[in-house]
Point group: C2
Chain length 211, copies 2
DNA sequence: TAGATTGTTAATCGATTAACAATC
DNA sequence: TAGATTGTTAATCGATTAACAATC
């Protein structure tokens, strides 16, 4: 029932990988060479066994007494998550949230490069927002196809979310990062990742109430 | 090991509740009175059994042959997640992301009302952004205490994240919605909900690579 | 009464945690 | 050699799925 949701290694683990990556990069920048699972675990407030399991999944082995070699480990995790080289991405909907994401410098550290943005507003088209050129939305399919882009970020108003998603898919996009609350209807081979602020908020306020 | 992470009902379920809520409100607005678990399940692409389990958790029972009464169910879920009446919230860091969140109308549907924003920039202080007054950051603790606010949204630069979080907690804030990548150090009774875009992105790009 | 849907109890599945042998 | 840390195998835990009785 529902879309294709199988992936040999769990999402829970994949979600932790950016944490390791961030921390390992910091350690590398401080000149450290090895990191033990216990040290990583303590900072990230997880169990050391979790760390070892996760890192094993990344393909890089550790050395008893020393820990894991930081530099190879960083490269291993990057390769594993698919962040080795920047993936070209487009963003549709240059409103407040869209502009914020365009200005988010952290994406570069996570293998994502936004190469084009789209908006229907003539006042925005032709300009650059945080260095990214803004095109008219009706050029989306064509430009996506020409640039061979596989990931699209969707920050448009609810009303046009489905049609813009359709335009992305028509251009060859395979994964959509959906910041709207619309339940998109897409072909089975397209992967949708919803970014649901309401869900996060629910977890927070529920925990506050339970206490 | 680590903070207080116990909550008698799983986060997975709590995360699904906003989906039900959104859908049920739409159905109510269309004039519908009952919703069956099968109908909800089909739209949300989950199993009907999951829906029944989740809704049972909300405390509202269904009727065989009819389904669940929409209006009581909405109220039940709202009560359950703690969204019955708007919770006062503050936001610190009126940059791009902060402004986007201040303008996010959806929060009102989720029991959240941002009553004050904080920024150190003198050009922003004293103005209103999307109707929310902006105060100087050094007034944060005082205003939070006076307004008796329990939830804080953190959209400040990494460098000041910890100190602003400290100021929030000093004012009595019990839950922080952390949009930075900083691993905040807080007392055990304070709940931190990280909003990690990198983690979401990792899941998406990993799935694309696995396929 | 017949049929559809709820809600509960049991079975399966996956992830986390624990125990411990292997290794530098 | 002694000691610390990895990595694997087993045990526990929680969530999902399945089966089915209860109910309108």
């Amino acid at each position: 029932m529902g879309g294709t949701r199988k992936s040999e290694i769990g999402d829970r683990m994949v979600k932790r990988l950016p944490l390791y990556l961030r921390l390992l990069r910091e350690m590398r920048d401080r000149g450290e060479v090895y990191a033990s699972s216990a040290a990583l675990a303590k900072i990230l407030e997880v169990d050391p066994i979790v760390v070892r399991k996760d890192l094993a999944g990344s393909g890089i082995g550790g050395t008893p007494r020393l820990g894991f070699p930081i530099d190879p480990l960083i490269k291993g995790i990057e390769r594993y998550v698919g962040w080795s080289d920047a993936t070209a991405t487009v963003l549709a909907g240059v409103g407040k949230l869209g502009s914020a994401l365009l200005g988010h410098t952290g994406f570069r550290d996570h293998g994502l490069q936004i190469v084009a943005a789209f908006d229907p507003d003539a006042r925005r088209v032709g300009r650059r927002v945080s260095g990214v050129p803004v095109y008219a939305t009706d050029k989306l399919t064509e430009i996506v196809r020409r640039l061979n882009v596989r990931i699209g970020i969707l920050t448009v108003p609810q009303a046009v979310a489905q049609s813009v998603a359709d335009a992305m898919i028509a251009g060859g996009i395979r994964g959509i990062w959906n910041f709207t609350t619309v339940q998109l209807v897409v072909p089975a081979e397209v992967i949708i990742k919803r970014e649901d602020l309401a869900a996060s908020l629910a977890v927070l306020s529920h925990r506050l109430h339970v206490k």
